[in-house]
């Protein structure tokens, strides 16, 4: 049932062109490019099979074995993570390797130079700007209609590998997924499979590589463990091949299990190649025009509504707003209460600490003999800093802990906007979800995300992107530390003004200017105290010039007063303000979102498309939907092939 016979193929391509022409002036560059790439792919009639997996799973070794190479010239192998670029292998009666660079340049190279472009060792951080290396040759083991792809391993320390890999995945028609017995399946691998699934790739050949390096029991355990995790993740696996790519490379195709893997691939291709290729083609075309068709749907949906319906929705929204106001006021009051309680405790702690620090330091000075005085003067700054730190640390960490708790609670109890699947918008409240604009659909969704204006703007924006943004905004949890860090500058905490005792002015403590707040939070000296140690710097200046004991005592007392005074008069009010700013921030966010939805509804009500425009639009939408549905329905009768 090879439906990619010439006529079938022509039919598919005609269909794709028809889709494009139906879009008319609404098509954009991305859609056009996506469609033409898909057409080129289909014309070549090659099945693109990519080897995927984490770093060091033996992808390149396997490909060398399948290609029938006796060296690793075309797919270099190393003890360290090697592959850093995408290489595509095709059969051809002449040998040729072409490096395609990101800027579009191409360079023909010999096989002996492939290593210079596709390995981390020789092309560090992809400094050479390689996009893909296309390698053709009379590879004995390679089916003429198959294109094999070697990819960089996922989850290595080289971040750009993941970027390259993720960008490539949609180009594959099917995937060989390599794992090993030694390393249990991890989150990186599950994430990678999710990416494969998201690209609508429905066939994955699973292989457990390097079975010659583990015992039988370990392999069985590993397979059972992996299968369990995969099925939990919704990935169905028919068969987990046990292979040794190394042994296959050394010539033992059958014993290594690679022959059986290739057998399954061939069988699958013989039966399904045409179907998979056309399914992939349809899915690529749909993906290319999806944003545009969504935009049209939204416009149609809003134009269908009567003024009365939109008014009713507006009423619901306004009504819900008053309800929400009540609830949020409650949450805010709870928050400000717990915040000020925490501050009170902190303030009390400060006072006690001051008394204790003074006692400790004075005692030290007092007990010093005349001969020790000058030495003492030099050491005092660090003694003082340490003593203050020691006494303040527990108080500060207690406060920070309760501050964090308050933020968490506020966030949990605060109403929030959630964007649902069908484009509905719901307000999450303490009592559950209330759909406020269930019927207005994507209009509201789009507005929450990017302030998208409905009428006439659909061509300019991709609603799919807007949807994604909206979901991100609406479901983003307002993590307490991130709120706090945003407010640091707001609260004016950057610099503790230098003391008047010295002439030195000093830079703001690093913890406050360059590090994000949560880093400071993690340290033993928390952010409420950050910078206190630096206060000792000018103090040390002043002190080093003093020789007399009573003068030193006086200076110490002054310094202690200064430090605690500043904590009291600068830090405390700043922390107080921070609490207010947090409430304000969270309040503002919700208000802004609600206002955007309201504005979108008003706009939809007031700027109605004319009757003929609406009809045209609806007609276009229906035609496009019909076209897209045509193949999606006919080409995948067995939608859940092997891999869901």
């Amino acid at each position: 049932m090879d439906i990619t016979s010439a006529s079938q193929r022509r039919e598919l391509i005609d269909w794709a062109k028809q889709v494009l022409s139906t879009l008319g002036e609404r098509r954009d560059e991305t859609a056009v490019r996506g469609v033409s790439q898909a057409i080129n792919g289909l014309l070549s009639d090659r099945f693109c099979l990519a080897a995927l997996g984490k770093a060091k799973r033996g992808k390149s070794t396997l490909l060398n074995a399948i290609l029938g190479r006796s060296d690793d010239m075309v797919a270099p192998v190393d003890k360290l993570p090697a592959s850093s670029a995408i290489s595509r292998f095709r059969w051809c009666d002449t040998e040729r390797a072409t490096v395609v660079f990101r800027d579009g340049r191409q360079e023909q190279i010999g096989f002996d130079r492939v290593r210079e472009f596709v390995t981390e060792e020789f092309n560090n951080e992809n400094a050479k700007g390689v996009d893909v290396v296309e390698i053709e040759g009379s590879f004995t083991g390679l089916d003429h209609n198959l294109e094999l792809v070697d990819t960089p391993g996922a989850g290595s320390i080289h971040e750009h590998h993941d970027a390259i890999l993720h960008a490539f995945i949609p180009n594959a028609d099917a995937v060989i997924f390599l794992v090993t017995a030694r390393m249990p399946l991890d989150q990186d691998e599950l994430d990678l499979l999710q990416k494969v699934k998201a690209a609508d790739i429905r066939k994955v050949f699973f292989a457990m590589n390097r079975v010659d390096e583990s015992g039988e029991q370990d392999i069985a355990d590993a397979i059972a463990h992996n299968m369990r995790l995969l099925s939990q993740a919704g990935v169905h696996v028919d068969r987990m091949h046990r292979i040794s790519a190394k042994a296959a490379f050394d010539g033992d195709m059958t014993g290594s299990g690679v022959a059986a893997l290739m057998e399954e691939i061939s069988t699958f291709l013989a039966a399904n190649k045409g179907r998979v290729l056309s399914t992939r083609f349809v899915s690529r075309i749909s993906a290319a025009v999806e944003p545009i068709s969504q935009a049209i749907e939204v416009e149609v949906a809003s134009s269908r509504k009567t003024v009365g319906e939109l008014d009713a929705e507006l009423d619901t929204l306004r009504h819900e707003k008053t309800e929400v106001d009540f609830e949020r006021a409650f949450a805010e009051r709870e928050f400000s209460m717990s915040w000020s309680k925490a501050i009170d405790a902190y303030e009390r702690g400060l006072k006690e600490a001051k008394t204790e620090v003074t006692a400790v330091v004075m005692n030290k000075v007092h007990r010093a003999s005349v001969f020790e005085v000058s030495n003492l003067a030099k050491q005092l700054p660090s003694i003082l800093t340490q003593t203050i730190e020691e006494h303040l640390r527990p108080i500060a960490s207690r406060f920070e802990e309760s501050a964090r708790e308050s933020c968490d609670r506020l966030q949990a109890s605060y109403p929030a906007l959630n964007v649902g699947d069908a484009g509905s918008v719901a307000l999450r409240t303490r009592n559950g979800h209330t759909a406020i604009t269930g019927t207005v659909g994507g209009v509201a969704v789009a507005t929450v995300g990017v302030g998208f204006a409905v009428a006439g703007a659909a061509t300019a924006a991709s609603i799919a992107a807007a949807n994604a943004a909206a979901v991100a905004v609406a479901s983003a949890t307002v993590a307490a530390p991130s709120i706090l860090s945003g407010l640091l500058s707001l609260a004016g905490l950057e610099i503790l003004a230098p003391l008047a005792t010295g002439t030195a002015t000093f830079a703001a403590p690093a913890a406050l200017t360059t590090m994000p707040l949560w880093v400071a939070l993690a340290g033993p000296i928390g952010w409420t105290l950050a910078g206190v140690g630096v206060l000792a710097v000018p103090f040390s200046w002043h002190l080093s010039k003093l020789k007399m004991k009573d003068r030193i005592e006086e200076a110490c007392e002054k310094q202690i007063n200064e430090v605690f005074g500043r904590l009291q008069t600068e830090r405390l009010p700043a922390i107080c303000n921070m609490g207010k700013a947090i409430t304000e921030e969270i309040r503002l966010r919700l208000d802004r979102q609600l206002a955007q939805i309201e504005a979108a509804l008003v706009a939809a009500r007031d700027r109605r498309p004319s009757e003929s425009e609406a009809a045209q639009l609806a007609e276009l939408g229906t035609r496009l939907r019909g076209l897209l549905a045509h193949y999606s329905n006919t080409t995948s009768p067995q939608r859940s092939i092997d891999y869901r």
Binding site: K56, K79, G155, I157, R182, P381, S382, V537
Partner: protein, 359 residues
């Protein structure tokens, strides 16, 4: 004594921090200024670390599941005490401490009972540990805080405790996600003085692992143990080091290349040359170095000196590149205070030698 030493060092670090910060502010040259600020951040980190050096004596072996932690431990301990944990099991760390006889004790998170069992032989210990791991499923004993195995092993005689930690990173079955790693994090934060990070040579270091390192134990880890280097040439080891060193920037850990299996075999055959070839002897020396507080303080001193050397090299290069236009990089009076304070302190003098601006 140790306590004094630690206080001395803390003071030195404080003084150094002041010197660097004051000078950074005094420095008109933007590049020098930013380097000095970077140095001051590094010093502040060292200062924080000093606070946790104190009285802890647990050295933890940490790594992904199945990288050979247990094999390494067995090679170190010279007995097959550490069970092979296949797949993630209990979330509790396993501590190996010195004792006159073989004994297993289980500590609970919130229970006074502390069941303890004497064991005849290593086999019995394994059975006991397996039983504890099985029990961990039911709610009553789920909160095992740690399991301590006592044995008369020479390496452990002077109070050293080596901990085997559950492997992190493997995908967890639904429901268990996260709990495992949170427990490990808490243990590393609260109990452990030094971490040996075990990575598998053929796997290299992955992104997720590195993130775990940064978040969980970066501050107490100076040593990366690369296992499975059975057939690695010196050249490969050097390339490994270079490839992954970039990720660590200023806090450059030491790499130890070992082969746990070879070490284990050499240990059984009492073959000291083999043990050395497997890298175990060097690692043992390093651990002994870190056993006592003085050793750990020495480790911190090394880090400080390394930082001072780096700083000096940078400053000298910078000055030479600009044909000597950068005469002084310290604020003069800050420098005189630094040199006047604690004149008899050895580490300070060494730092001064490194840091002094040459004419």
């Amino acid at each position: 004594m140790n306590n004094n030493q630690q206080k001395e060092l803390a003071k030195t670090v404080d003084e150094l921090l002041m010197l660097v910060r004051e000078s950074a502010d005094f420095q008109a040259d933007d590049d020098v200024r930013s380097v000095l600020l970077e140095a001051s951040r590094a010093i502040a980190t060292i200062r924080r670390r000093l606070a946790i050096v104190s009285d802890r004596y647990i050295v933890a072996v940490v790594g992904l599941t199945n990288v050979g932690k247990s094999t390494l431990l067995n090679a170190l301990l010279g007995a097959e005490l550490a069970p092979r944990r296949n797949g993630p099991c209990t979330a509790a760390p396993l501590e190996f401490a010195h004792g006159d006889s073989l004994r297993v004790t289980v500590y609970h998170q919130r229970s006074l009972t502390r069941p303890t069992w004497g064991c005849q032989d290593i086999e019995a210990i394994h059975d006991r540990l397996a039983a504890v791991a099985d029990d961990a499923g039911d709610s009553a004993s789920r909160e095992v805080r740690k399991v301590v195995v006592e044995s008369p092993i020479p390496l452990l005689t002077n109070g050293l405790v080596i901990a085997d930690t559950p492997g992190f990173g493997a995908a967890q079955s639904a429901g268990a996600a996260g709990s495992h790693e949170a427990a490990l994090k808490k243990y590393l934060e609260d109990d452990v003085s030094q971490v040996f990070w075990v990575v598998l040579a053929e796997q290299g270091i992955g992104k997720r692992e590195k993130l775990f390192h940064d978040a969980f134990f970066g501050e107490v880890c100076d040593d990366i143990v690369v296992t499975g280097c059975d057939d690695w040439e010196a050249y490969d080891k050097e390339r490994f080091r270079r490839r992954f060193a970039d990720a660590f920037q200023s806090r450059m850990p030491r790499f130890h290349f070992v082969s746990g299996l070879q070490g284990m075999r050499a240990r059984q055959a009492a073959d000291s040359a083999g043990l050395e070839a497997a890298g175990i002897t060097l690692l043992e020396t390093r651990i002994r170095e870190l056993i006592d507080c003085a050793g750990r303080i020495a480790a911190i001193q090394d880090t400080l000196l390394q930082l001072a050397t780096d700083l000096r090299c940078w400053l000298c290069d910078y000055r030479d590149a600009r044909r000597g236009r950068l005469k002084s990089w310290w604020r003069p009076d800050s420098w005189s205070r630094w040199s006047a304070c604690m004149p008899d302190n050895a580490i300070k003098n060494r730092l001064s030698n490194e840091l002094e601006a040459p004419l």
